[in-house]
Amino acid sequence: MTQPLPASPLARGVVDAALARSLLEIALSSGGDWADLYFEYLTAADFVLEDEKVKSVGRGITCGLGVRVLKGDATGYAYCEQLDPEAMRRAARAAAQIAAAGASQPHEAVRSITLPDFYPVAQPSLAAIPDAKLELLRRADRAARAADPRIVKVSCSLAESLKEVVIVGADGRLARDTQPMVRFSVGVVAEEDGKRQSGSSGGGGRKGMEYFTEHSPEWHGAEAARVALAMLHAADAPAGEMEVVLGPGDSGILLHEAIGHGLEADFNRKQTSNYSGRVGQRVASTLCTVVDDGTIGHTRGAINVDDEGNEGRRNVLIQDGVLVDYMHDRLSAKHFRRTPSGNGRRESFRCQPLPRMTNTLLGAGPHDPDEIVRSVKRGIYARRFSGGQVNINNGDFVFSLTEGYLIEDGRITTPVKGVNLIGNGPDVLTKVTMLGRDFQLSDGMWTCGKDGQSVPVGVGTPTIKIAAMTVGGTKA
């Protein structure tokens, strides 16, 4: 069964070549050397189950136009929240002002371009009946509770959205895309003998309801319970430099922080990253090949088109340890005389695009994962993370472990309390001494923040051994 989706003005053809032409004309009327239009219509819904009850059902519709005008390195930006002709013209005029009193600039004839389709969905999840989604939450809730009597609290949520965009540039290219997204998550609290611990599991992607045939709600419920129980009696973690083994999949967050952000070309255009001027140099161990890939079907980080109208692409950033290229948006591509790499992304029509990651991956290596663990005398095995952060300028980065274990004499032993791991990007990647054959993509749950803008991303890695990293435990 399905339900009708709200009628999108973008689908109704409100945005056509004639409208785009008239707005581009206004945007370029003061002498700007580039302008683009970003029309967006976003429908979102969310469902929350808490204490075995549906706590909330929500829905939201966001619609608007962002107008950007570039003059040299300067950006004029304005947006409006109604697709009303007068409001749109006003936004175009406001953005135009960055180029003060120059001669009006021409734009190319507006024409639609054909895009690849990395996330065809037979039916967006938003069109599936809500009762089916509430049932998914109940299934996850039951599974988590059934996993163990020590599970005392369970909450589950499902968030879904469908974003329609029309992007038009001064080069006349008009791109239309429809971007589905589903995200499911389960959080639990386990209690025993006055000790408490939380655990969570989640995933999703640019998919419809078929996500749940591949990843059952029961699995996520049981997994959240497993994490909470595994960590319930965790021991104090050690402090200081030691060997660290990162499990496959979500450990890609290390890559995202340690090197990904530093390779976003806005920082390098401004010479503010510690990877500035290092193209062609060795920046990682020869085991490391890193790509940013927006073309992996149905993943959270996939994009048919970036938010400046350029096709999503697969870009090699580091080949066998040598820095090949940065990730570009329009501004940085022009600066470095490169073609835009399909990394110009934004959170919404309210934000200007920036160079951003899509799916950032470290390719598989030659080692057996068990052999990697066996090689460690005393260290940490990291499996799950709550997030990370990097200081672009000096390269220091952290990530927070939520499920980790001691490695003693080549064996994974005692669970240890959540700790922070800290390192320096250019330094840590040279210390990758072993790399597993077991490459894994993360399940779609990561969101990246930059300059106050959030965009969905993916990560992926095999098992990684780092020869020395600082572990922020409490035990000497």
Binding site: K53, V57, G58, R59, G60, I61, C63, D73, A74, T75, G76, Y77, A78, Y79, C80, E81, A91, A94, Q97, L134, V152, S155, V189, R196, S198, A239, G240, E241, K270, Q271, T272, S276, R350, Q352, S386, G387, G388, Q389, N391, N393, N394, D396, F397, V398, F399, S400, K417, G418, V419, N420, L421, I422, G423, N424, P426, T470, V471, G472, T474, A476
Partner: protein, 456 residues
Amino acid sequence: MDLVEELQGIAQKAAAWAVAAGAEAAEVVVGDGVELTTKVRLGEPELVQEAGSRALGLRVFRDRRPAVTQTTDLSDDALRRFVQETVDLAKLSEPDELNQLPPDGSFATAIPDLDLFDERVLAITAAQGLALAKEAEAASRGFSPRITNSEGATFSRSSGARAFAIEGRGRAGFLAGYRSSGLSLVVEPLADDAGGKKRNGYWWTWSRFCDGLEPAAEVGREAARRVVAKLGAEKIPTARMPVVFDPQAGRALLGALAGVISGGAIYRRASYLLDREGTAIASPLVNVADDPLVPRAPGSRPYDGDGLPTRRNVVVEGGVLRTFLLDTYSARKLGRSSNGCAGRGIGGGPHVTTSNFVLAPGAAKREQLFAGLSRALYVTDLMGFGFNATTGDFSRGAAGFLVENGAPGRPVSEVTISANFDALWKSVDMVADDLDARSATACPSFRVSEMMVAGR
């Protein structure tokens, strides 16, 4: 018509439509805002962004079942349809006797004027904003030849209004609104250090009123001073030692404390402070209050997100936890009454948020925090999210200065600091008098007698 009255009119209209469409109660929040952001980098304009926005958030109850929605399309036709869809959406939800409006008669009746709005803010032009940013950045670059680059200087101003209408069959309603404004200036210079590392830092000023900003050049110079001081930063060997937090870094700890005394964390049993009311959770030097009624302050609000009156809540007094912060729902889950701590965005229902959440200043001068210390860490920057609210385990990346012979000396980076929060707050052994009240969560410098510092 006055902007607040206009928004109240929209809110009332939407609430009435919801009740007419079959809801027994409806809450409507309407927000309107105008923002200008101007950024200068290396002396040239980099960004001028201007925008106005208006959005509406709706929560309805139908047969005791809630639904929460939001929209930016406020034309009459679209809004009427949206209200009907929201009322229909509530059928999917389940009745929850606790998840209902506050008791009849509990809504705020007198709405205090907290002096949150300066109409002159709106008149600041992009050219004026760029000029302020330029002056601040120039001062930072002129401070020292070691300043070699810049992330730029940004001036922003915002001006807006909120309205809140609640209507329910057979009970008194609520209608209120207020205007607010703010402006800020932030500067982020860079210096080149050995090994290709860049050192960054920033300084900022914020006010609701035009005359409340610090002089641009002073903001720039302070930012540069902080950056230059970091040149040559390195790891230190792993050891336990006293840790002094400056107000910028300490604020993050206070924010984490706010999370674990929030009613939502308590009823979800996801806080290490469960069952700890009335007991010592911190050193006797620790006094924390949440006060939404401070005139002109960043976190002030004249009524809460449930429509209840706001009030000052003493949270920690002499180290003893006096109360959790509760909204109507979390209070009912815990069998209590709200203490007026609901926040409310446009989207989403009410939930506990702090207002002006402040660690009270102590008697000590900042220098006294270092006196007599032979080896300690003075933390000025924190990184990451390493806090487990359920267990209280705290572990984050840190940078700052090594304290030797009673004073901060050489810069430190790439270390982590760790402790359990229970032990951390109990071992606060000195609180300075230098409260930095620019932000809603605010504290003075304070010292923790021992933490694990992991480095080399």
